[in-house]
C-alpha cells in the first residue's frame, strides 16, 4: 500500500526560492566583475579568486571548529559576499586585503551573529570598512581602479577638495574613471540594477529613495548647483551601493516608512562622509553600515496597522 504524504496548506507554492534570488544576484555581480576586469585589468579576477577561496576557507573552518560540522553551507551567501567585496575594492588592492576583509565578513559579521540571514550589518561592506580603517595609510592609493588618465586617482579626493573642474559624465558612464571596480562603468551598474528589479529580486523603492535623498542633500548644501550634485552622484560609488548593497533583504527594513527613514539616514550620512572624505571609497560603505544599524529598531517600531486595529468591534 502506498502511503499518503500529507503537508500543510497551501499545496501550491510560488515558483521562487532563496536560491533563485541569490543566483540572479550572483549572475549580475559576476557580469559586473567581468566589466570591471575589461576596464581595470586582469588583477580584478585574481582579487575575486582570493576573496572566494578565503571566504570558503573561513566558512569551512568556522563550521569545523565551532559548529562541529564538516563541509560548507549549501546557501550561496558567502559567494555573494566574496564577489561583492571584489566589486567594492579598487583594482590596486593589495592581495592580502581580501583575506582580512573576508575574515571580518564571514567569521565576525556573519557566522558569529548566527549564520545566513541573521547578520545585522552587510558582511562585505563591513569587511571593507574594517580593512580600510586598519590600513588607512595605504588605502588612499589602493582604492583606485588602475586606469591611466585624468582620474587615475580616486575622484573622491577631487570631491573632498572641491575640485569639480575635470568631471565629465561620459568618463564615469563608460569606464574611464578610477573608482571602485563595481562602479567603474555606471551603464553596467544601471543595467544590472534594472535586471534585478525586473526579475523581482530587489525593490525599486530603496535605490530610488536613497539616491534621491543623497542627491537632494548634495543639491541643497551646494548652492543649488546641479553640476556639483551630479559630480557627487557619479563620483562616489553611491549608485552601486544603493542598488546592490542597500537592498539586501536581511539588513533593510520591510515597511515603507522604515525604508524611507533608512534611505534618509543613508543618503544624509553618505553625503557628509563623502564630503569630508572620511574613509576614501569606504565613506559610502560606512554610511551603509550606519543605516544597517537602525534596521532592527525600524522593523520593531514601525509596523503596519492590521485589519480592524483600533476598531472596537466594527464600524
Amino acid at each position: 500500500m502506498r502511503l499518503f504524504k500529507v503537508g500543510p496548506s497551501p499545496f501550491v507554492k510560488k515558483n521562487n526560492s532563496v536560491k533563485i534570488l541569490l543566483e540572479h544576484m550572483i549572475l549580475v555581480l559576476l557580469a559586473l566583475c567581468v566589466v570591471g576586469a575589461v576596464f581595470c585589468g586582469y588583477r580584478v579576477l585574481i582579487l575575486l579568486l582570493i576573496s572566494l577561496v578565503s571566504a570558503f576557507v573561513f566558512e569551512f573552518l568556522f563550521n569545523l571548529v565551532v559548529l562541529d560540522k564538516k563541509g560548507l553551507d549549501d546557501d550561496l551567501s558567502s559567494i555573494v559576499t566574496a564577489i561583492m567585496f571584489t566589486l567594492i575594492s579598487g583594482a590596486n588592492t593589495p592581495l592580502y586585503m581580501p583575506v582580512i576583509a573576508m575574515f571580518v565578513a564571514i567569521i565576525i559579521v556573519k557566522m558569529l551573529f548566527g549564520g545566513f540571514a541573521k547578520n545585522i550589518f552587510n558582511p562585505a561592506g563591513s569587511g571593507a570598512v574594517v580593512s580600510i580603517s586598519l590600513f588607512g595609510a595605504v588605502a588612499s592609493t589602493w582604492l583606485t581602479a588602475g586606469i591611466s588618465g585624468k582620474f587615475a586617482e580616486n575622484p573622491l579626493n577631487n570631491i573632498a577638495t572641491g575640485n569639480f573642474a575635470n568631471f565629465e559624465i561620459y568618463d564615469f558612464l563608460f569606464g574611464k574613471a578610477g573608482t571602485i571596480v563595481g562602479a567603474v562603468c555606471l551603464i553596467a551598474v544601471l543595467a544590472g540594477g534594472l535586471y534585478l528589479i525586473i526579475m523581482g529580486v530587489i525593490d525599486f523603492k530603496i535605490p530610488l529613495m536613497a539616491l534621491l535623498s543623497f542627491a537632494a542633500v548634495a543639491f541643497l548644501l551646494n548652492g543649488f548647483d546641479f553640476n556639483i550634485m551630479l559630480c557627487y552622484l557619479i563620483g562616489s560609488p553611491v549608485i552601486f551601493v544603493s542598488f546592490f548593497m542597500l537592498t539586501d533583504y536581511t539588513t533593510s527594513p520591510n515597511s515603507f516608512l522604515g525604508q524611507l527613514i533608512y534611505c534618509l539616514i543613508f543618503g544624509i550620512s553618505a553625503y557628509f562622509l563623502v564630503k569630508y572624505n572620511v574613509l576614501y571609497s569606504g565613506s559610502v560603505l560606512l554610511a551603509l553600515i550606519f543605516a544597517n544599524a537602525f534596521t532592527p529598531l525600524l522593523d520593531r517600531v514601525i509596523r503596519p496597522r492590521y485589519f480592524g486595529e483600533g476598531v472596537k468591534y466594527g464600524q
Partner: protein
C-alpha cells in the same frame, strides 16, 4: 479608515483546465459516510440507529442548538454504523454510514403554501443548507431574528477566489435562474436594502445571463447591484468582501452579519431555491475536481458523504509515482486527507491534488514578501518568530487574531517556511486561551 485596498495574489494559469469544465457523472460504489459536524458548527444529534431503513431525503440528524443543521440521507439504504470517527475536516464527530440499496424511493418536503417570511425562514432551517466557506456554519444561523433588524446588504458570491476551484462560477453559469430566485428569497427573509452580486470569472456572460433572468422574474432592479471583483486571491473572505463593498471594517473576531452584511454564495442560493421551489433538502454540493495530478479537471454534483475513492475511479491520476495526497477545500487553504476513504461533506466545494513536491524550510531572509501580500496587513514573519518562541502575548498585540488562514504568506515565501500553519495554530491557541 483602517486600510485602503485589499492585497493578494493572482495565480496565473490556474483556471486554464477549468474554463470549459463539464459536469461529470460519478458511479457511487462505496457506502456513504455522512458526518454530523461541518467545520466550526456544533454536532447534530443522530435520529437513526443501526439497521434502520432510510429513504433518500429522510432526516437522519437534527440540530441541538443554533449552530448545527438538519442532516438528510443522500440515498436510499440501510444504516450500517453510527459511531465516532475522525472526519475529513480532521475533527472527531459522529458519522452515519449508509449502505445504498437499489430502491429509488425519496422523501421530500411538503410544498410551502404561502411565501411569508416566517415560512421561508422555517424552510431554510429545515433544508439543511451549509455555508461552503469560512466557518461552514448552517446557512440559517445568519438570519436569526437579532441580526435581521440591522440588515443592510446581501452579498452573493458568484465566484471562488481560490484559483483551482470553479464551483460557484459553474453554478452561476448553468443555473442562473435558480441562483437569481434563491438570492431573492434570501433578500426576502433578511430585510436587506440591496443585493450585490459579485463576479470574478467570465464576468460579462454571468452578469448578462443573471440580468435577463432577473428581468424575466420581474425583480426590482433598483435593489440589485453587480460588483466586479479584482483578480486577486483571497477575496471571498466575508470581512474583506464587506470592506470593499460596504466600506465597513469589522474585526475578524466578530461576524459580519452582526453589522448588517450577509454573505451568500451561488451554492447556498441554489440550496435555498431547491428547498422552496422543488421541496428538496440539501443533500449534495458541486465539487470542483482539479490539480495537476488529474488527467482531466471537472465539476461533479457530489452527494453528501460520498467517499473520495469514487471520485478517483472517475477522474484518473496522470502519474501514480508523483501522486502523494489530495485535499478538500482548495489549494490554498484546504485540508490534506490521509486516505481514499475520506468522505466528501456538503460543506466543501473542491477536491484538489498536486504533484509531490518536497520543500525544505530555510531560515527567514527578512525579504518582506509576506508582509506585502498579507490581505489583513499582518507581519507574518514577526508572528512566525513569536509562534516559535511561544510568545503569545506579543503575537496578540501584533494582531495574530486577525489572521484569516488564507495561506498567502506560505505561498510567496522564498524560504518555503510554513508561516500560515504556525500562525493559525498560534491563533487557535490564543482563542482557546491557552498560554505557555
Amino acid at each position: 479608515m483602517a486600510f485602503a485596498n485589499i492585497r493578494g495574489v493572482f495565480i496565473r494559469g490556474s483556471r486554464k483546465a477549468l474554463r470549459n469544465a463539464k459536469i461529470a457523472e460519478i458511479k457511487t460504489s462505496a457506502n456513504f459516510c455522512v458526518p454530523l459536524k461541518y467545520g466550526m458548527a456544533s454536532e447534530s444529534k443522530p435520529l437513526v440507529s443501526v439497521g434502520e431503513n432510510v429513504k433518500k431525503g429522510s432526516v437522519i440528524a437534527s440540530p441541538i442548538d443554533n449552530s448545527s443543521a438538519f442532516i438528510y440521507s443522500p440515498v436510499c439504504g440501510n444504516v450500517v454504523a453510527v459511531d465516532k470517527r475522525i472526519n475529513s475536516n480532521g475533527q472527531e464527530s459522529i458519522v452515519i454510514e449508509i449502505e445504498p440499496s437499489t430502491s429509488k424511493a425519496s422523501l421530500y418536503f411538503k410544498p410551502i403554501e404561502e411565501q411569508t417570511k416566517s415560512n421561508l425562514f422555517g424552510r431554510l432551517v429545515e433544508c439543511g443548507s451549509v455555508d461552503t466557506w469560512g466557518k461552514r456554519l448552517p446557512s440559517y444561523k445568519k438570519y436569526l431574528s437579532a441580526n435581521i433588524r440591522k440588515a443592510q446588504t446581501l452579498i452573493v458570491k458568484l465566484y471562488d477566489s481560490d484559483g483551482f476551484v470553479y464551483s460557484n462560477c459553474f453554478i452561476a453559469k448553468n443555473y442562473a435562474k435558480e441562483v437569481a430566485l434563491g438570492a431573492l428569497l434570501y433578500l426576502k427573509i433578511s430585510n436587506c436594502d440591496e443585493v450585490v452580486f459579485t463576479v470574478f470569472d467570465e464576468q460579462d456572460k454571468i452578469v448578462s445571463q443573471l440580468k435577463n433572468e432577473l428581468l424575466n422574474i420581474g425583480a426590482d432592479l433598483t435593489k440589485i447591484r453587480f460588483y466586479r471583483i479584482s483578480r486577486k486571491y483571497p477575496l471571498d473572505e466575508e470581512h474583506l468582501l464587506a470592506k470593499i463593498i460596504t466600506r465597513k471594517t469589522v474585526r475578524i473576531e466578530h461576524n459580519v452579519e452582526d453589522f448588517g452584511v450577509f454573505v451568500e454564495s451561488a451554492q447556498t442560493c441554489l440550496n435555498f431555491y431547491n428547498a422552496v421551489y422543488k421541496n428538496e433538502p440539501t443533500i449534495s454540493s458541486f465539487y470542483t475536481i482539479s490539480g495537476n495530478t488529474f488527467k482531466n479537471a471537472g465539476v461533479v454534483d457530489v452527494l453528501n458523504g460520498t467517499k473520495a475513492l469514487d471520485i478517483f475511479s472517475e477522474f484518473k491520476i496522470k502519474n501514480k509515482e508523483k501522486f502523494s495526497s489530495f485535499a478538500l477545500g482548495g489549494a490554498m487553504a484546504g485540508i490534506a486527507q490521509v486516505s481514499f476513504e475520506a468522505e466528501l461533506p456538503i460543506s466543501q466545494t473542491s477536491l484538489v491534488s498536486f504533484e509531490d513536491k518536497i520543500y525544505s524550510e530555510l531560515p527567514c531572509i527578512n525579504c518582506g514578501k509576506c508582509t506585502k501580500v498579507c490581505p489583513t496587513r499582518l507581519e507574518p514573519m514577526a508572528l512566525d518568530t513569536y509562534a516559535e518562541e511561544k510568545d503569545f502575548g506579543r503575537a496578540k498585540k501584533c494582531g495574530a487574531e486577525a489572521c484569516i488562514n488564507c495561506g498567502l504568506c506560505s505561498y510567496v515565501c522564498p524560504a518555503k517556511r510554513n508561516l500560515a500553519q504556525r500562525i493559525s495554530d498560534m491563533k487557535d491557541n490564543i482563542i482557546m486561551g491557552r498560554t505557555m
